[in-house]
Symmetry: C2
Subunit: 454 residues, 2 copies
């Protein structure tokens, strides 16, 4: 970043201390003046770290638009918390200043009764209500109703006049064009409109090649569509192709970040956190993880049963137990490698369910190759370590089979989950380890029984 | 997606078959006509799956701009492959039609001699050369030199005229304003320019609040800056604040997806793949994983040493080995949960290195709580399973300590990596498992020695 940006974090930290100090001394007005001079994103960063009472101090007397800007930049849960502290009238006024899609999101996070009461107090009620009907993570939940639809028979100069008079908070590069019944028929850029001859009808120069999403489309699918076609705005239509809203690129950037966070946290076997990490309490973090950890503990008991089943084998050759951690560890690693590749290929749509057999076949070949390589390493280690070629053969064969098996399982698990309509990241990571641990032990000790003829 | 989009994949698949058939029969012109009728993104999707010879068939006779559009949508490695097949003159002509940043990327992927020769044949040589100086993953590598800088003393009507006459491939919503020396001084939107009175100077209404990146800034940092401030274009400046390029939002969307893919693949312990999954050969996939798997195998040998160290203990109480997979598995799971949370918090900048102690303290408390809960479960299982309260105490104590320990290690490893300037995802996932396995075994068997006084 440039010099002023490199130190953005320090600058924000410094401002935070200063504002905190002023509020502490009761000099609210001075603190507000500093806040007002900042960009919304920085305002939000400082604001979110202030104690509850100081947040309220700031909000009293801050212009409504400023408050709306700050709340728009905060995480959903943080906003819901602050909203709970404000008198309903003030909250309604702030919501009126927010972008419709953000206001609808916030209302959706409040207890139903509160949401209804506050909606009743709002001026933009009619604009917001339809947005409340859609689930948060769909195109309908993501879109804004603040858009300007232009008629296809409009002259360029009239369209330009309409755009000039319409003063949205966000500026748009593209404007969507509809027919008399409100069906989406095309798109025109501001530059096209400026360049067109004043009396040209929009339909004479607009672009007809339309990509759109229906209101119930998944937000991740919308993100991919926009990313693939390089769109900065995606029109949302109902089942009859009527234009009902627009998704803008800044919302999609947030969706992509959130979805990647969810994927990564789920792969690690923890429920995604709704709040920034340092704002979540010990108990909230524990709650997001402990259920899954206990579930895995219970499934992990299968390994204990497998070990008990082979207790005789383990007793007669104690050296076998020495290799247990190495063998199941290696199996887990091979499985993780595969699963990470497959999950990501699934989530960026490089592959889908119908490719299951091709993927399995790909991974079977990879598994055989990797299994052979690791088998040689295992054979050498155990032969030298135990001074017994039969032990070498046991460990080598077992580790080779385990790597082959984990690679194949690692490719199938996410695809099966996706077929069953379950999020592949959920059943991958730690669940895969447990499956691979138990089956790997079974493979290992069966091989040992054969080769060492116990 | 709307009906036409829901079936986009099938539609593309169908078109692919049709085009493949036509090319096979030598009806190249017909295939080209179909290709030309599609959007660039769809053209690229069909094109990338065609065999090499059919790709060349298509490219011969396709207008240069169409070819440029297709190549821009493909992955870097795919383009480099195709570029290698084309005569240098044709390639130079195609590159002239591409966006400067994409053309520079492509040249950067070619062997140095070829790149120099082709650059010499290009008309846009002067525009591209400066872009070649910057590393691919920096602001300089990401920016385009195709931008229009407006002078601060320009009248609104003159600026509008300049914008009208400038016909870039991409349309821009914001235009950056510079002083006489070319220093970045502000930004004006197209709408602001339209609305301003014709003789108003840009500096009288432009926005002075400037966020910019220097040419050597990391691309991920640029993505975060744009996401945080909701920018659709980010100006890039040199060390003297001269405007040298612009990064557009569509590039950032790609960066975010690529970075998340890299994170996820590294967490799984595989080197990121450069090509779409199904296009990589068995050998390429194996190569991306086998080195890491062998390295982990070698570090995993520490577990074998720990087990050998305690061979006496394991021999005298064989039941102890039965719990080995469960204990190290649970430790690994607790560690993965923590690491996933921390890695993601680091990569979306919720925390940074200076928060290391706060994070550790947070995770220590979480670890104690989780350790206690799992200890109770372990105690009950082993007491009931072995009919011996001392075994219950051993397993319960060991598993509690292991969970506490793995949680703490899981929070520290990524932070230490980040302090050392290593990518935290690299040392996390599988490496963490190995560390936790070895130390976990040591904790377990030491606890057993004490409690069972072996």
């Amino acid at each position: 970043m440039s010099t002023q940006d490199l130190s953005r974090e320090q600058r924000v930290d410094q401002l935070y201390s200063r504002i905190h100090e002023l509020l502490d001394r009761g000099e609210t007005r001075k603190a507000q003046i500093i806040i007002e001079a900042l960009l919304p994103a920085d305002q939000a960063e400082i604001f979110r770290d202030l104690p509850d009472d100081e947040q309220l101090q700031i909000l009293q007397g801050l212009p409504l638009e400023e408050t709306a800007d700050i709340l728009e930049k905060l995480e959903d849960e943080e906003v819901a918390e602050i909203a709970g502290l404000l008198p309903p009238e003030q909250l309604a006024n702030i919501l009126d200043e927010m972008e419709p899609d953000e206001a609808a999101d916030l209302l959706g996070d409040l207890p139903a009764e509160d949401a209804v009461r506050i909606l009743g107090l709002m001026e933009t009620q009619e604009e917001i209500s339809p947005l409340l009907l859609h689930a948060d993570e769909t195109a309908g939940g993501l879109m804004t109703s603040e858009y300007l639809a232009l008629g296809q028979n409009m002259w360029a100069e009239r369209a330009l006049e309409a755009i000039r008079q319409w003063a949205p908070e966000h500026e748009y590069l593209y404007y969507f064009v509809v027919d008399k019944e409100g069906h989406l028929v095309g798109v025109a850029s501001l530059l096209q409109i400026i360049k067109a001859s004043p009396k040209a009808e929009l339909q004479s120069f607009m672009d007809r090649n339309r990509i759109s999403a229906t209101v119930d489309a998944d937000q991740e699918a919308c993100a991919q569509l926009m990313s693939w076609y390089d769109l900065t705005a995606l029109p949302v239509v109902d089942d009859n192709q009527h234009l009902v809203g627009v998704i803008t690129i800044d919302d999609i950037v947030d969706v992509l970040e959130d979805e990647a966070t969810e994927d990564i946290q789920r792969l690690g076997g923890a429920a995604p956190l709704d709040k920034p990490y340092l704002r979540t309490s010990t108990w909230e973090v524990t709650r997001s993880r402990v259920g899954w950890l206990l579930l895995l503990f219970i499934t992990g008991l299968i390994t204990t049963s497998v070990m008990e089943h082979f207790e005789g084998v383990l007793k007669s050759v104690v050296a076998l137990s020495i290799y247990v951690p190495l063998l199941i560890g290696t199996g887990g690693n091979a499985g993780s490698q595969t699963i990470a590749t497959i999950i990501r290929a699934l989530s960026v749509n490089e592959i889908d369910r119908k490719d299951a057999l091709r993927v399995l076949w790909h991974e079977i070949r990879v598994g055989i190759l990797m299994g052979l390589i690791v088998a040689i390493a295992g054979f050498l280690r155990a032969w030298i370590g135990e001074g017994d070629p039969l032990m070498g053969l046991t460990i080598g064969t077992a580790i080779g089979l385990i790597v082959f098996w984990s690679t194949s399982v690692g490719s199938l698990l996410p695809l099966i989950a996706s077929l069953l309509g379950v999020d592949p990241t959920l059943v991958s990571g730690p669940l895969m380890s447990t499956v691979v641990d138990a089956t790997g032990l079974f493979i290992y000790l069966t091989v040992a029984q054969w080769i060492l003829s116990i």
